[in-house]
Symmetry: C2
Subunit: 248 residues, 2 copies
């Protein structure tokens, strides 16, 4: 098997070297040959290159360094606007303001983004998903002038890599593979599956630095606390509704 | 750039040759090195290989041929069950029963599925996304014994290819790329962007066979009618709630 896949890693620091529009277009064209629901291609990609636009966008990504240091930020958007406009221009009645249509667009968009990341990394670029896009979709939408029926889903920082990367650990594949039926996890399973992750030096450091009893508490109390999750869920749901989607 | 990406295509017919569990595990392990939110890996994959299980599963995919002819069906599930169990076993209070947590799991799952598809195709396998998983998530969940907090998101039919594949057309990349700000589409833009698609022989055949005036009407009246979209949205939302997620 191609070694790239097992050995890839995220880069969070980048050199000043330009990632040209031509290269981006070629890579996005290749990525668009990934599967898409009914071949509808329910997505758009906004390229942020201007430093002034990056500075406007960065707060929506909590100003994480990659959002400012990357040569370009690509915002992958679920886009039902273009398809609906096409239908309306052809005397067709589009019924795409519902959750299933939104899910199809989310899937199309995520598949495109991941295929782009793979292509870009194989071209020697570094990429970093900014995990903040659905938190501040409303703010991103303002900066990028997204119209009704367009939802930012994923942002990817892209540049030529520089500095160091961190090795990432993963669960053993048996931890997430089930044969024929889902085998629910016993306490023993959980202990075995998460043991390596909990014993890593960086994990122990996170626990200590945050004054917690376990790595899991770092996730629940520091990184993804219930209150934040619920607040940003409510903001996102309101944004989806204001962009023209029904969620009930 | 690697030719694979521009030239890939979906296969819907497969030979009888076995795709072994070892090969699937190796490919899924490689795919798991794709990015994941906060390295939480909020997914599980259920492998359906037994003919009896495939027959139980197929109706949920409207018995499309690929769902029965493929050597294996992989159901990629958004899984917050494993992570929540880990938290609960470590005296951490998980607040993951909300829409943002579900979105993170949807993204993780879709990224894994697409990375798997790329790896599998490069290994000489054929793959076909079954676009029906979120329609009948409740039925799939029953067949696969999915517990609370696990949602089937994507199903991929996998086998060694056989027979013919269909070339798929894609929009020109300029149709979905925007620089700095979203440039909304004029009627002229829409006409230009969709012209090639509308003039394809297979498109004209779809219009004629379905007795429609335009290709867009095939999408809105035949393939994705409002009534179906809304019905399956409601079914899916109810399923998400019954699996323990809040959507408001």
């Amino acid at each position: 098997m191609d070694n790239y896949f097992l050995n890839r890693h995220t880069w969070r620091t980048f050199s000043d070297r330009e990632v040209t529009d031509n290269l981006l277009q070629d890579m996005l064209e290749a990525a668009s040959h990934a599967p898409t629901t009914g071949n509808m291609q329910l997505y758009s990609v906004v390229i942020t290159r201007d430093v002034s636009q990056k500075k406007l966008l960065a707060p929506a990504h909590f100003s994480q360094p990659a959002s400012l240091n990357a040569n370009v930020i690509l915002t992958f958007c679920a886009d039902l606007n273009r398809f609906v406009k096409w239908c309306e221009n052809r005397e067709a009645d589009p019924g795409f303001d519902n959750f299933q249509s939104l899910m199809a667009a989310f899937l199309d968009t995520t598949i495109l983004a991941q295929q782009f990341v793979t292509i870009a990394e194989r071209e020697g670029l570094g990429t970093c998903y900014l995990g903040t896009t659905t938190y501040n979709a409303d703010k991103i939408s303002e900066v990028l002038h997204l119209p009704r029926r367009v939802i930012p889903v994923i942002s990817v920082a892209v540049g030529y890599p520089s500095g160091q990367y961190e090795e990432t650990d993963r669960l053993e594949p048996a931890a997430f593979i089930h044969k024929e039926k889902y085998n629910d996890y016993t306490s023993d399973d959980i202990n075995r599956i998460y043991k390596d992750k909990e014993q890593r030096q960086d994990s122990k450091r996170f626990v200590q630095e945050n004054n917690k009893q376990s790595l899991a508490q770092v996730f629940t109390d520091v990184r993804y606390p219930r209150k934040n999750n619920e607040y940003f869920s409510s903001v996102f749901i309101n944004f989806l509704k204001s962009q023209g989607f029904m969620l009930d």
